[in-house]
Amino acid sequence: MNLRFFYYFGHYLLFMKSMISRPEKTNIFFKRLSEEMYKIGIGSLPIIAITALFIGAVTTVQTAYQLVSGLIAKSVIGTIVSDSTMLELGPTISCLVLSGKVGAHIASEIGNMRISEQIDALDVMGINAAGYLALPKILAGLLMIPLLNIIAITLSIYGGYMAGELSGILTHDEFIAGARSTFKGFTMVFSTIKAFTFAFIITSVSSYQGYYTTGGALGVGESSTRAVVYSSVLVLFFDYILAEILL
């Protein structure tokens, strides 16, 4: 493995460590936290809602297309839509979308502050710039992304149900019966654990990329791209690791 990986991983850990300090003013910290929660949570709601509704709808239609045998009950479609949504489509697809939306935004915002000396201004004032800028974003992500995941799951299942009902693939009762038949509480716990992990990856990797932006406007663009690519790849990697460990 390339030794540069260890250099950057160590650098990333030091960045995370540098954030841990008592905020200068608690009320300012909570104000910043609530602003970031609004930006990440409410700001991402439309794209998450649209993605989830269509993924659920498409899953229903494509599952029905693959069920060519008349021996398989149509309620299986409800089972497949709900389970695959909770296990994979909800957290993973939502977080891949959020890697692009939230990750790029965080990296470009912090990166722009770096190249325009705003981070230097915070340092000169004696403010822990990493803690002031990145910590509220990471905490906001940890609080809001799991909530967005729950909304995504709900809307995705609803999208699947609506597609089945409107196209006449299966009835309301068949869908609900299928969705309930194999439901396990742990599936939601697992989904939430994934959302927490992905939230941390997206916000911390993007903050790190933005914080160490070099160069001018081009550097900001490069940081944003790296933030999206690295967090997407890490989301997929940890998706597999968590499935191996917890299922």
Binding site: E117, Q118, D120, M125, G126
Partner: protein
């Protein structure tokens, strides 16, 4: 007063500052001059704590900032104001919020007291009624003045100005110079200005340090500069290249 003792700084194999010894006097405009790449910015960054020298001491009124505990260093930093080359105003905050930022962070003022202080600082830099504007909505000269207002919002003892005239027209440049000079004298601040604008040097420079290739080449006051120019070729070349007589 700020004192640099045997300050050395390298980046990897590139030696940028060589054994710098200098004094920056209270209530004076202390100018660091020299051509680009001569070490001015690195020297200022070392003084404000954005870079750490490899060796030496940087003493702010008997406090060596390189050996202070983090808490004590923060106390020193609260006494520092800085005007950045690109102003470094927070673009997501309004003018009023920018100036109130250090007050909100470090003072116990109420919102009304903060607003009063912001208006006082804005008035001091000859700006009014722009409280609710964002930095992107004001001119370059106004941004510099807002930068100065933010720097003096707290009762600072040290002001650092990195290329305060860069990107400004000659008339606005002179206004900024006058403003910096007035504030320095009025509050008795130790002011360190990084510049290669010789008009600034001759107009407001009380104490001047000429850096050449990372070394302190000459140090003196404005009155000595013309005489030194005749004796030091590098200083003469630098002044002549600025087309200012």
């Amino acid at each position: 007063m700020i004192e640099l003792k045997n300050v050395d700084k390298s980046f990897d194999s590139k030696h940028v500052l060589f054994d710098i010894n200098a004094q920056f006097l209270s209530g004076k405009n202390n100018l660091i001059i020299g051509s680009s790449g001569g070490g001015k910015s690195v020297m200022m960054k070392c003084m404000v704590g954005l870079e750490r020298p490899d060796s030496g001491h940087i003493v702010f009124d008997d406090r060596d900032i390189l050996s202070l505990e983090e808490k004590d260093l923060r106390d020193v930093r609260k006494e520092i104001g800085m005007l950045f080359q690109g102003t470094a105003l927070f673009d997501s905050l309004t003018v009023e919020e920018n100036i109130a930022f250090p007050l909100e962070m470090f003072s116990k003022m109420t919102a009304a007291e903060r607003r009063e202080r912001v208006n006082f600082c804005l008035k001091r830099v000859n700006l009014e009624n722009i409280n609710s504007k964002y930095p992107s909505e004001i001119s370059g000269g106004m941004k510099k003045r807002v930068g100065i207002a933010r720097a003096i919002a707290l009762d600072i003892k040290y002001l650092f100005c990195d290329e305060p005239n860069s990107g400004l027209d000659p008339i606005t440049s002179r206004l900024i110079d006058e403003l910096i000079n007035e504030i320095t004298k009025e509050y008795g601040i130790t002011n360190v200005i990084n510049s290669h604008d010789m008009k600034t040097v001759f107009d407001i420079g009380d104490h001047i340090i000429f850096l050449f290739q990372g070394r302190k080449w000459w140090e003196g006051n404005r009155a000595d500069l013309k005489h030194a120019q005749k004796e030091i070729k590098e200083l003469d070349d630098f002044i002549k290249a600025s087309y200012f007589e």
